[in-house]
Amino acid sequence: MAYLGIFITYIFVNNFILTQFLGLCPFFGVSKSSESAIGMGMAVTFVMGLASIATWLVYHYLLLPLDLAYMQTLAFILVIAALVQLVEMVIMKNSPALYQALGIYLPLITTNCAVLGIALINITQGYNLMESFCAGVAGGLGFTLAIVLMSNIRERLDLMPVRKVFKGVPIAFISGGLMALAFMSFDKALLTNLLG
C-alpha cells in the first residue's frame, strides 16, 4: 500500500513538471513531437530510478557515516553525472538499439534538476532504498505522462490558426500553465480518499 501511495503521489499529486516545476527545460525543449517526447520520458524514468538507488547508497553509506550530510547536493551531482555517463557507455556497447532510442537524450538529463530533485526529496522524506527506487521510477513516469501529453497538444497546436505573437513557445507556455492547473485537481485529499 505504501508503494502504491508513492506511485500515485509522484505521478499525479506531486507531478515533477506540473506541480513541482522541476525539469521544465526538456518539457518545453523536447516536446515538439510525441516520438521524441516518449524517448525523453523513457530516458528520464530510467535515469531517475537508477539515480535514486545510487544517491541513496552514497548518502547512507558514505555521507552519513562521515558526518558530511550537508555536502549532499554536490556529491549527488557527481554521482549522477558519472552514473549517466557509465550507463550511456554500457548501453552503447551492449544494446545499440536501445542506444539509438535513448542515446541522444541521456547526456541531456545528466544534470537535469528533476533527477537531482528526486535524489534530494528521497532523503528529506526519509525513504528506504526500495521506496527511493519506487519514487524515482514514479517520478520518471509522471514526467513521461506530462511530456507526452504536452507533445500531443503541441502537435495539434501546430495545425491551429494561432496568432503570430503566440506561435511556438509562447502558446506552449500557456498550455503548460493550463495543464498545471488541471493537475491541481490531484491533491492530498484525493490521495487520502483513495488509500484511506
Binding site: 558530511l68 557527481l78 558519472a82 557507455m89 556497447k93
Partner: protein, 266 residues
C-alpha cells in the same frame, strides 16, 4: 571548523577522482569500434543533412559509402569537389558527378491569369488545400501558390517573384528534392541547372480545355516540335517537354514562336 572544511574537500575530491578514474576505465572497457572511414567521409560531406542522396543525413550516406552500399557522387550540395574527396578516401576512381539538377516549378499560371474553382480560405498549406477538390485552381496540374515548398526548402532557394509565381533560384538550389516530394500537384520537377529554357506548364489536358482556364498553359499545338525540330521540344500527352540531352539549338526561336509563351528562360 577548518578541519571540517578540509575533510569535506578531501572526501569530495577523492570521490570525484575515483568516479573519473572509473569512467576512464569503463570507457576503455566498453569502447565501441567506430567506423573510421565513415567518420572521414562525414568530415568532407557538406553536413547539410538534406537527405537528397536518399540516405538519412550525411552520416547515413557516409556509412553506406564506407560499406560500399552507395554510389559515389549522389551528394548534390557537395558536387564534384565532394565526390573527388570521397573517392580519395575510399580509394576508388573519381567518376565525377552527373549534371547538377535543380528544382523548377513548371507553372506560370497564377490567380490573375488562370481560373479558380472556388475561393480557398484555409490553412496556408498546399497539401491542406489539395484535400479539397485537389486545390482551388481549375487546372489540377498547376502550382497552388501556398508555399509549402518554400517552407521545406533547407536553403531558402524558393521564393515568390513579383507576379506571385513560385520560383526556384537555380544558383542556391542544392537539388535535395524535398520540394518535389512535398508538392501535392507534382508541378516541381528536376531539370539540369545549365538548361537555358524550361516549359512553364505541367498541364496534360487537351488544348481547348487548357485555353479556357489558363492563358499561359501549354496547349500542345506542336509548333515547337514541328517547326523547330532542333529545339529539343517534344509534345507528349498535350504537353511540350524539353530533351535537355539534345543540343537545343533552336530553343530561342521556339520560345519566340510559342503562342502562349510557356517556353521560358530558366
Amino acid at each position: 571548523m577548518i578541519i571540517g572544511i578540509v575533510y569535506a574537500f578531501i572526501v569530495i575530491t577523492v570521490m570525484g577522482l575515483l568516479l573519473g578514474l572509473g569512467l576512464a576505465l569503463a570507457a576503455k572497457k566498453f569502447a565501441v569500434k567506430k567506423n573510421e572511414i565513415a567518420e572521414k567521409i562525414v568530415a568532407v560531406l557538406p553536413g547539410a543533412n538534406c537527405g537528397g542522396c536518399g540516405f538519412p543525413g550525411c552520416a547515413g550516406y557516409a556509412d553506406a559509402l564506407s560499406q560500399k552500399k552507395a554510389a559515389n557522387g549522389l551528394c548534390s550540395p557537395g558536387g564534384a569537389a565532394t565526390a573527388s574527396a570521397v573517392a580519395g578516401i575510399l580509394g576508388i576512381e573519381d567518376s565525377g558527378v552527373g549534371e547538377r539538377m535543380v528544382a523548377y516549378v513548371h507553372c506560370h499560371g497564377n490567380h490573375g491569369i488562370s481560373s479558380l474553382d472556388y475561393r480557398y480560405d484555409g490553412m496556408e498549406d498546399c497539401n491542406a488545400a489539395s484535400l479539397l477538390f485537389k486545390g482551388d485552381n481549375t487546372c489540377k496540374y498547376g502550382c497552388l501558390h501556398l508555399g509549402t515548398c518554400i517552407e521545406v526548402c533547407p536553403v531558402s532557394a524558393i521564393s515568390r517573384d513579383g507576379k506571385g509565381n513560385v520560383t526556384v533560384d537555380a544558383k542556391t538550389c542544392i537539388g535535395c528534392k524535398k520540394c518535389v516530394a512535398v508538392c501535392p500537384t507534382k508541378v516541381i520537377h528536376m531539370i539540369p541547372a545549365s538548361g537555358s529554357h524550361a516549359i512553364a506548364c505541367n498541364n496534360h489536358d487537351a488544348g481547348g480545355k487548357v485555353k479556357k482556364i489558363c492563358s499561359v498553359g501549354c496547349i500542345g499545338c506542336k509548333i515547337c516540335e514541328n517547326k523547330f525540330p532542333a529545339s529539343g521540344c517534344k509534345v507528349v500527352d498535350f504537353l511540350s517537354e524539353i530533351d535537355y540531352a539534345s543540343p537545343m539549338s533552336q530553343i530561342v526561336d521556339a520560345a519566340e514562336a510559342c503562342p502562349v509563351k510557356c517556353i521560358v528562360k530558366h
